[in-house]
Symmetry: C2
Subunit: 230 residues, 2 copies
DNA sequence: TCGATCGCATTTGCATACACAATCGATCGA
DNA sequence: TCGATCGATTGTGTATGCAAATGCGATCGA
C-alpha cells in the first residue's frame, strides 16, 4: 500500500482522505471514466482507493448533495443519470444565471475589474488562433468567473460556480468543434461591447444567447452518441 | 417527478437515522435554537440524539454541503454565521432566480397550471384577513413553488427550492409584521396581473421587486437584533 | 512580567465490526 | 410452465475503537 507520510511527495497527498476520494470521483465522473448509471459499491471503491468504507461514504454523500450521484436508501448509489432533457434544463438554468450575473456585473463592476476583464478577453484572441481547446476552456472559465466576481454578490457567484461545475461534469468534449471556438469568442466580444456601453440588459440577452448557443452545440454532440443507456 | 418516496422528509420516525438528525438540526438552525456560530460537537450531538457519531457526521456533512454549517478540517463544525450583508446577497440571488422563474413560467405554463395558480392566489385573501402568519407562510411557499413548477424546468425548480430553503433557515420571523402580509398579497396580485397579460418581463420585474421588498422588511428586523455573533 | 515551548486532553478522521434490509435465486404450489 | 414465497447472500446503515491532530494550559526561560 502507499505509505501515507506527512511528506507530500506526489501532489495532494496532504488532505482529508474523504476529500481526495471525492475529488477523484468527481474527476472520473467528469471524464466519463465512471459512466452515468454506473453502480458505486462502497467496499469496491474503498478497496480501489486503499481506504475503508467510511471516507468513501462521506465522499459519496457529498457528491450526492452536489447532484453528481444519486443515493437511494439501502440500495446504494449510482452515477447520476442525465437525460438529454435534463442536460438542456441545466444549460438553460446556467444561461439564465449567467445572464443575471453579467447584468449585475455591468452595473457594478469597478474600473479595475473592467480592465481585467478586457485584458482577459484580449488574451483569448491568440488562443483561438492556435485552436488550443484546453487553453480556451481554461480561459473561458476565468472569463465567466471574472464576471461572477464583478457582480459583487459572493453568494450569487458561489451559486453560479456550483451549478456551472455541476454541468461541467457532463460537458466534456463539447467545445471540440473548431468553429464553435471562434464563434464563442465572437459572442464574448458582443457581450464585452454591451458591457462597455453600460447596457446591462443587452449584455444579459447576449450572454443568454451565448450560453444557449453552447447548449445547441452540445445537443448535437448528445444526439450523435446517444447512449440510450444505463 | 416524485421519485422521493424513500426519504420521508420530516416527522417520520421510520427513516434513516442520519436523515432524521439532519432534519432535526436543520429545524434547530432554522428556528434559532442553534445560534449562528454555535459549535457542533459530534459526540455531544450523538449523545443528545441517542445515536453514535457516525450518522451525526453524515448529517453534518450534508448540512455543510447545503451551506447551513461550516466544517473546518479537524476543527469541528459551527453553525454558518450569516452577516447581514450575506443575507442581503442571498435575498438578491433569490429575487433574481424568482424573477427568472416567473418569466419562464408566464411563457410556458399550461392553462391548468394557470388556473391552479389563480385558485391558490384567491385562497390567500381570507388568510390575509385573519392575519394567520403561519398559514400565509405555508400558502406563500405553495404559490412560489407552483411558479417554479410552471417553468417546466425541473432543474431550475430544484435550484430555486434549494436556495429558498437555505434562506428560509435564517428568515424566521420576517413576515411577523401585519402590514407586510397585506402588501405581500398585493404584490402577488400585481404579478398575477402580468402573468394574465402574458407579459413575462413585467411579471419578472414585479417578482424581483416583491422579493426585494421582503428583503427590506427583513433588513429592518436584522438591524434591530443585530447579534454581532457568538 | 511576558513570551515561547512542551505536554496533555479533547476531538476529529479513519478503520473495523456487527445488524438489518433488500435483492436474487430456488423450491414449492397451482 | 408459470407464479409466489421463503431463504441465502450481498451490501448498506450504525456502532465502536484507535490513532493523529489541534487547542489549551503549565512550566521554563529571558
Amino acid at each position: 500500500m502507499a505509505s501515507n507520510f506527512e511528506t507530500e511527495d506526489d501532489g495532494d497527498d496532504r488532505g482529508l482522505l474523504s476529500d481526495r476520494i471525492r475529488n477523484a470521483l468527481t474527476d472520473e465522473i467528469a471524464t466519463g471514466t465512471l459512466a452515468a448509471g454506473a453502480a458505486l459499491d462502497e467496499q469496491q471503491l474503498a478497496d480501489r482507493f486503499g481506504a475503508s468504507r467510511t471516507p468513501v461514504r462521506e465522499a459519496l454523500r457529498q457528491l450526492a448533495a452536489g447532484g453528481l450521484v444519486e443515493l437511494r436508501a439501502r440500495r446504494g448509489g449510482v452515477v447520476a443519470r442525465m437525460t438529454p432533457e435534463r442536460i438542456m434544463e441545466m444549460f438553460e438554468t446556467v444561461a439564465e444565471i449567467e445572464a443575471i450575473c453579467v447584468r449585475l456585473a455591468t452595473y457594478r463592476m469597478t474600473p479595475l475589474e473592467r480592465s481585467h476583464l478586457i485584458e482577459l478577453h484580449d488574451l483569448s484572441q491568440p488562443i483561438v488562433e492556435t485552436g488550443d481547446f484546453d487553453a480556451y476552456d481554461s480561459f473561458n472559465r476565468q472569463f465567466h468567473e471574472a464576471i461572477y466576481h464583478a457582480t459583487h454578490n459572493s453568494f450569487l457567484a458561489e451559486q453560479a460556480i456550483a451549478v456551472r461545475n455541476r454541468l461541467n461534469a457532463f460537458r466534456r468534449t463539447q467545445l471540440r468543434q473548431g468553429e464553435r471556438l471562434r464563434r464563442s469568442r465572437d459572442e464574448h466580444e458582443a457581450i464585452m461591447q454591451a458591457i462597455a456601453e453600460g447596457d446591462g440588459e443587452m449584455a444579459s440577452r447576449r450572454m443568454r444567447a451565448h450560453m444557449l448557443n453552447a447548449a445547441t452545440s452540445l445537443s448535437r454532440f448528445i444526439e450523435i452518441n446517444k447512449p440510450g443507456g444505463v
